[in-house]
């Protein structure tokens, strides 16, 4: 089953304000392994080769926090989505 289809099963109350932010885009350009692009369960982070930047699809975030701790450069400003926004688990 494709990840996109799985995320589609989840219920989200999407905030128009992203709760994830790359602190310094220059750091990503020089980041060797770019772990955020594969450790995230929801694959929120995608490296855009042409524009040399990390795209952040925060809408699918399951709010685990893996990226915050897995980024070797501590380059992700991770905040909780505003109250009531973000993932709403039906089962948990």
């Amino acid at each position: 089953m494709r990840l996109e289809d799985k995320l589609f099963l989840n219920r989200y109350q999407t905030d128009k304000h992203p709760h994830l932010r790359i602190k310094d885009r220059e750091v990503c350009r020089h980041c060797e392994g770019k772990p955020c692009t594969f450790i995230c369960p929801a694959r929120v982070y995608v490296w855009n080769e042409r524009e040399e930047r990390i795209e952040t699809a925060y809408e699918g975030c399951v709010e685990c926090g893996t990226c915050r701790y897995g980024c070797a450069h501590d380059n992700i400003d991770w905040r909780n989505p505003r109250g009531g926004f973000g993932i709403i688990y039906k089962y948990g």
Binding site: M1, L3, P41, E63, C64, G70, R82, G83, Y91, G92
Partner: protein, 432 residues
């Protein structure tokens, strides 16, 4: 003028709610902030809730709480590419009162537990993020919420914010940014199946449940476990591995889960099921050495935020509930004295040390590091054991003694007798 309560609890999970419920029952003015739409809407675990520690918080909870199935059987599967070595224990004593453990779905159970706290007199405020602690003269005096004019003052704040413990880190109780060796990333899918199918496939009587823990190829040899738990009319299927090894191996957690689901031992259990939800969560598995400072002036830390997880036995909810209960008792004792300073909250740590919570974490304090440094237990040995079983069980007119020799030769070619003896000895040292 800020609102004022005796106690603020940050987070409506088992730890925070155990604290809030116990305090409310004792007549303490307690307010619980939950960032989700309702308690449980952000909360995830594999799914096992233990009866004994839960009853310490809500006696007789299993008569009313939304539980899935009582666990009557626990299985352990050591997977290789196309085989599995299995071990299990089934006991009908676990099928009736007082029960041992239940599978649960947290979005339902936590909501119910919060209802109990509210019924006891706690005030629950949903959809509210606590963004910071309020400090005065080096003591915590309340919280700042994301709501406008949302400062709430309190005598003591209980941090029950979960594994991604931003406030605990901000308060300097634990270092900012947890080491990737101390965190596991887990993903899980809820897969719906008719209850009769579940009972047939898992050899269960009506309403009963079982758990399967899977090692070896289930995590592609990484430090971690996979699991399949039976709910009423769904399965919880997941895999959790150490974040450090995930980074090292450049793997994606969902790809791991799909790998597990496609294993011949697993896919037949899931066949025809319909995925309902996909979840991801961190598990703080740093063990005893990673436990942060658990108290300060006007503040206590409980549950996952306090890294109270026993990864070896996949226990967490029981440590969370017990820590919440012990935190509440400490607060009640401090309340008698009218002083919530650090010295009066320190007994919380001692109470945890005297309970199974820190005793168990201490027992396994070397385990995570040991298995990370000795990957052969998750890679080499499952393969060797599996091939030994295959050789021994293949009937091909080779005499048994010759088979034994052949097995021994293969094993000692892969790892010397001396190394095996040393592995077994250190395994016993770490786990025994």
């Amino acid at each position: 003028m800020a609102e004022r309560f005796e106690v603020v609890v940050v987070g409506a999970g088992p730890a925070g709610l155990a604290a809030a419920l116990t305090l409310a029952r004792a007549g303490v003015e307690v307010i619980v902030f939950e960032r989700g739409e309702h308690p449980g809407s952000k909360n995830v675990m594999g799914g096992v809730l233990y009866r004994h520690p839960t009853e310490a918080v809500v006696p007789g909870f299993y008569h009313q709480a939304p539980l899935e199935r009582p666990v009557v059987e626990q299985r352990l599967w050591l997977l290789t590419g196309e085989a599995a070595l299995t071990l299990g224990y089934k006991d009908m004593v676990f099928a009736g009162e007082p029960f041992n453990a239940f599978t649960v779905l947290r979005a339902r159970f936590d909501r119910w537990l919060a209802d109990q706290a509210v019924a006891a007199g706690a005030l629950l405020i949903n959809e509210t993020v606590v963004e910071d602690l309020l400090w005065e003269n080096e003591r915590v005096v309340g919280v700042r919420t994301g709501r406008e004019g949302g400062d709430v003052r309190a005598e003591v704040v209980v941090l029950a914010e979960g594994a991604n413990s931003l406030l605990t880190q901000k308060a300097g109780l634990k270092p900012d940014g947890i080491n990737t060796n101390q965190l596991a990333v887990a993903v899980k899918e809820i897969i719906a199946l008719p209850r009769e199918k579940i009972e047939d496939r898992f050899n269960l009587e009506e309403g009963q449940g079982c758990t399967i823990e899977l090692l070896g190829e289930a995590t592609k040899g990484m430090l971690g476990t996979a699991f399949i738990y039976t709910n009423k009319d769904s399965l919880s299927v997941g895999v959790g591995v150490l974040l450090a090894s995930l980074v090292r191996r450049r793997l994606n957690p969902n790809d791991l889960l799909e790998h597990l689901k496609s294993h011949p031992m697993v896919r037949s259990l899931l066949a025809g099921g319909e995925s309902k939800e996909y979840q991801g969560h961190l598990i703080p598995e740093g063990g005893y050495q990673a436990v942060p400072k658990l108290y300060g002036n006007g503040v206590l830390v409980v549950g996952d935020a306090a890294m109270l997880v026993n990864g070896v036995h996949r226990e967490g909810s029981n440590l969370a509930l017990t820590s919440g209960l012990l935190a509440a008792r400490t607060i009640l004792a401090a309340r008698e004295k009218g002083d919530y300073s650090e010295a009066n909250l320190a007994p919380y740590r001692r109470a945890l040390e005297e309970s199974f919570v820190l005793k168990d974490l201490k027992k396994y304090q070397g385990a995570s590091f040991f298995f990370d440094q000795n990957p052969q237990f998750f890679t080499l040995y499952p393969g060797l054991l599996s091939r030994a079983a295959r050789e021994f069980l293949t009937v091909d007119n080779v005499p048994k003694r010759a088979k034994q020799k052949r097995i021994l030769r293969e094993i000692t070619a892969a790892r010397s007798r001396f190394q095996i003896a040393r592995d077994l000895y250190s395994l016993w040292r770490v786990m025994g």
